[in-house]
């Protein structure tokens, strides 16, 4: 596609971006409630036993495994938030299981990288991340 062909960061194979990520559910209604009401992501549409969310232009596809081989936990997705302390407090208030309080993972050149791990309704480990500029 011409609009992306000049993107210098583009893959030599022509990969422009990640369009979608699948997340296996054991109860799609429960998972839909979690991603919509707890994480606050916009629900795009549902199709049968699948629910599609938007996260900053990447589509999350929630649905049951189509074969036993695929029935395993999700990759860890690291969701960016502006204020990790506030987001952590909010998750705690909403009863979300937290791995450990927010911690400084890596001091980078221009910012500190903070993360906090949590469990979604399906037992997947996810993370919030925030890049805090050095003052």
């Amino acid at each position: 596609m011409s609009a992306t062909a000049t993107n210098p960061g583009m893959s030599s194979l022509g990969i422009t971006n990640i369009g979608q990520i699948s997340i296996i559910t054991h109860d799609t209604a429960r998972a839909t409630a979690f991603y919509r009401d707890v994480l606050g992501l916009p629900l795009l549409f549902t199709a049968g036993n699948m629910a599609f969310f938007d996260c900053g232009g990447v589509r999350l596809m929630l649905g049951p495994a189509s074969s036993p081989e695929l029935d395993h936990p999700s990759s860890i997705l690291y969701f960016r938030v502006p204020d990790i302390e506030a987001a952590h407090r909010r998750l705690v208030e909403l009863g979300v299981k937290i791995e450990a309080p927010p911690r400084l993972i890596a001091p980078m050149k221009t910012h500190d990288l903070w993360m906090v791990g949590f469990h979604d309704s399906e037992g997947n480990i996810m993370q919030l991340m925030s890049e805090v500029p050095r003052g």
Binding site: N17, L39, L70, I76
Partner: protein, 129 residues
Amino acid sequence: MNMQEGTTLSRIGQIAINAHDVDRATAFYRDVLGLPHLFRAGQLSFFDCGGVRLMLDKAEKPEFDHPSSILYFQVGDIRAAHKRLQDGGAKFEDDPHVIAQMPKYDLWMTFFRDSEGNLLALMSEVPRA
């Protein structure tokens, strides 16, 4: 009751992908998928995919040692990308096919395995003429 101002999940910054051999996986993501390699930090290898960072890593514990979520990589020309990936040695599960007819475009997909056995996909939204 959901995440409020300051706590909004704006976008995905990073995705962890389990590898059993980080060198082998780095070669696959760099040379076969052709993604820009950002940096290496010990057993961690970082790539950029359109602003999302991919982190290749060995699982720290047996409970974390499971395949990746299916990541659907968007391409402009799925047939050309399929052919190049196949030529690069990637194992495909199927040929590119229409998976859904959306109002304005056909959604094409094809599924393949990375060097670590993770199931991944190419996707392409082909506008209806």
